[in-house]
């Protein structure tokens, strides 16, 4: 088994470094910067592009993330055991993936366009956005190009035999760099940009993903809080008393 130093660097060191930064970064940001933890909405300043771009991007992203989970985390043997043949899987993945990918690319394109073209928003773009938007665009475009080149128009490439094996190896602490070293360049570039995206995640507006307000569905409408129980930012201990909420309407 020959694994070059570059492969070790790209497919073992880089993912682990990025994951470490991802985890530690989130802990640090959550403890230190609740005030900066926001979606940083700019709808007030521009809403015509956002109205289409943002839902397209977000809904596309949900589908794309779901597709990645199935494609990367679920071994091919499991889907076959479930009675889904390789051909069925491939067809489904290409169709659903294309729809999701196109929605995400179109949405992201609109969001980038408004950020560049609307002066009010361009001036309000901060450093983290200047890293996040190009990196996210690169990851998304490389991903959809890889799919288009190899699986839509090309002869078909079974990434579940290589990329997925590498991906799972990272998480079970048995890295398999050799599985990735033979993958087509577009898949490799997509994987590298994705790793970098995870590394910058905690330092950008992407943190708002973890604040998706699903708890709102079951919360009482009215929220009362005592003045005395409010604590300073950064000192709120996990498990400390929740705000006093009561149903009044």
């Amino acid at each position: 088994m020959n694994v070059s130093g570059t492969d070790l660097l790209l497919w073992v060191a880089l993912p682990y470094i990025c994951l470490a930064v991802f985890v530690v970064g989130h802990v640090w940001r959550y403890r230190q910067d609740q005030f900066g933890w926001t979606s940083r909405t700019s709808q007030l300043l521009e809403h015509r592009w956002l109205r289409w771009g943002s839902p397209l991007f977000h809904l596309g992203a949900f589908m794309v993330i779901g597709g990645h989970v199935v494609g990367l985390a679920v071994p091919a043997s499991w889907t076959e055991a479930a009675g889904i043949s390789e051909h069925m899987y491939h067809t489904g993945a290409v169709w659903a993936g294309s729809v999701a990918g196109i929605a995400m690319v179109a949405g992201l394109g609109m969001l980038c366009a408004r950020r560049l073209l609307t002066r009010r928003i361009r001036l309000g773009t901060d450093r983290s956005d200047k890293i996040l938007f190009p990196l996210l665009s690169a990851a998304v475009l490389l991903g959809i190009s890889a799919t288009a080149t190899h699986n839509v128009f090309g002869g078909g490439y079974d990434y579940r035999e290589t990329v997925s094996v590498w991906f799972r190896g990272v998480f079970v602490l048995q890295p398999r760099p050799e599985a990735m070293s033979g993958a087509p360049l577009l898949f490799q570039l997509h994987a590298v940009t994705a790793c970098l995206l995870f590394a910058v995640w905690p330092f950008t507006r992407l943190v708002h993903v973890w604040s998706a307000p699903v708890g709102y569905l079951v919360r009482p409408y009215l929220v009362y809080r005592r003045r005395a129980t409010t604590t300073a930012p950064g000192t709120r201990r996990p498990g400390s008393r929740r705000p006093d909420t009561r149903r009044a309407a």
């Binding site: 909405t41 700019s42 709808q43 708002h208 307000p213 809080r225 005592r226 000192t235 705000p243």
Partner: protein, 511 residues
């Protein structure tokens, strides 16, 4: 009965001269920062007029407040919980900056740095958002004193009834008054109910509605849900901000900045005790015109021994109960019933109430050739002149002109009685009868007159200081302004309002 205390406000609109001192001092205190240049926690509108933001009262468009569904249950007009989460990506009912106005600054530097020339140098307006020269085409009070009213004021959402077609915006044929507005600190706040993050809350102790800047994630649903459009997005921090009722001052027993600096002395601050268990039911009152009485029924009589006992059991301190008994707000709202809520039909149970202005009716008396000092003429006008009355009813009583008329009759009877008393006229008995007709005794009239006309600072603002023993966080407030938040040790502080920097630098010695 679950007794809670609320610091509430009443404004006597007849005294408002539209000087905007409240707005300006509020802005200097709270919103002179990047990101909220366009926001006025307190603004003064000319009525009739479209308001700020434009046509905010049109809830068909902006979806603010609550409504009853077909089964009579109280639901947010902007939709249910699932719909709200689905509109996180793009909120279809969020006002755009153009609905407020584009904030500007001026090229002041040009005034002194322009080269010598034949013309006076001018300071051109420049957009704060783009840094480029811009035209000023709208503002928070663009129609001050009915300026441009023939063009714009027809867009006032309150001018919707049949009578409204007769409203003329021609000089000497119209009426106007000023309406100062701030957050209503509602008993049933729609903004709090719409906040997906649970960042907005109503304080148990004094009912002030606040945004926790550390928990707000910028989902901007509060802006839509507030029918008064008094929650604003800070476009620099991406978080919601709103009127804080100057809580650091209130906690110290001082009036809000807008009240403190009110030139016309038209604001009153005081406590109201209310039964929190009744709030939901009152807000769900089937007929909109019954909402006023329903809300008054939620308020508790601070002199009632049962209420006092329940309040003590709820932990409300004695000096607060005493302040509640001396509350000018309770007197105007519940005892004399001359104050009315703004748009009760939004069902949020607002807590900033207004004594409706008599001046539109007096203007109408004069333009009809009557004598506005003659109470008979005024009574006749209140009964017969529909236009100002219907308009006031749209604002304050969900369209019930009889209630507004009753308040105006009371004010008229009070005026003529006190004129009689002061100038020593000859038909005192007649004036007493007029008082009696509006349900006032001579003693009550004296008291109400004192409250409305001569009340001093300590009578207008009865604000009990917060109790330090139950508010450890308050010690943080003693030496400094709560807006200055960076560079402070993390141990004792709650940051309620964002500072203009996008992200605070990590303070030294941070835990």
């Amino acid at each position: 009965m679950r007794v809670m205390a609320q610091i509430a406000m009443v404004m006597n609109l007849d005294k408002c001269i539209g000087c905007h001192t409240c707005s300006v001092t509020c802005k200097q205190t709270w919103t002179n920062r990047t990101g909220v240049e366009y926001a006025w926690f307190n603004n003064v509108e000319t009525k009739p007029g479209v308001g700020y933001p434009r046509r905010y009262e049109d809830q068909e468009q902006w979806k603010g407040g609550w409504r009853l569904d077909r089964k009579g249950r109280l639901v947010l007009r902007s939709g249910g919980r699932v719909k709200r989460l689905l509109s996180l990506f793009s909120n279809p009912d969020l006002p755009a900056l153009e609905d407020y106005y584009e904030p500007v600054t001026y090229d002041y530097d040009n005034l002194i740095s322009a080269p010598a020339g034949p013309d006076m140098p001018v300071a051109r307006p420049r957009s704060v958002l783009t840094g480029r020269p811009t035209e000023i085409t709208w503002g928070a009070n663009w129609e001050d004193g009915l300026g441009g009213a023939p063009e714009h004021a027809g867009g006032d959402p309150n001018l919707s009834g049949e009578w409204a077609e007769k409203v003329k915006f021609e000089f000497e044929q119209t009426f106007l008054f000023h309406l100062p507005r701030l957050c209503e600190h509602c008993l049933n706040p729609a903004c709090v109910s719409a906040c997906p993050s649970g960042a907005m809350y109503k304080r148990v102790e004094d009912g002030i509605v606040l945004v926790d800047q550390d928990r707000c994630r910028g989902w901007r649903m509060c802006v839509t849900a507030c029918p008064y459009k008094k929650v604003y997005v800070n476009h620099a921090t991406g978080k919601a901000e709103k009127c804080t009722f100057c809580f650091p001052r209130i906690e110290a027993g001082q009036p809000t900045v807008c009240s403190e600096t009110c030139v016309g002395r038209l604001r009153y601050l005081g406590l109201l005790l209310y039964d929190a268990d009744e709030v939901g039911e009152a807000a769900a009152t089937p007929d909109e015109k019954d909402l006023l009485d329903a809300q008054r029924n939620v308020f508790l009589d601070p002199s009632d021994p049962e209420v006092i006992a329940a309040a003590r059991a709820a932990g409300i301190p004695e000096d607060w109960l005493d302040a509640a008994r001396r509350s000018p707000v309770y007197a105007l709202v519940s005892k004399y019933k001359v104050a009315l809520p703004l748009h009760p039909e939004y069902r949020t149970l607002p807590m900033v109430w207004y004594v409706p202005p008599l001046s539109p009716v007096l203007d109408a008396v004069t333009s009809a050739g009557g004598n506005q000092d003659d109470p008979d003429h005024v009574f006749a006008a209140v009964t017969r002149l529909r236009i100002p009355l219907e308009y006031l009813a749209e604002l304050f009583t969900a369209g019930d002109a009889d209630v507004v008329g009753g308040v105006l009759m009371k004010l008229t009877a009070l005026r003529s009685y006190m004129r009689e008393r002061t100038l020593g006229g000859d038909d005192a008995a007649e004036e007493e009868a007029a008082l009696d007709a509006v349900g006032l005794t001579a003693g009550e009239a004296e008291d109400l007159h004192r409250l409305l006309a001569v009340a001093k600072y300590q009578d207008r603002y009865v604000v009990p200081a917060a109790h330090k023993e139950d508010a450890a966080a308050l010690t943080a407030m003693e030496n400094r302004c709560p807006v200055e938040s960076s560079g402070e040790p993390a141990s004792a502080r709650k940051v309620m309002l964002g500072i203009p920097t996008l992200r605070r630098t990590s303070p030294e010695g941070h835990a």
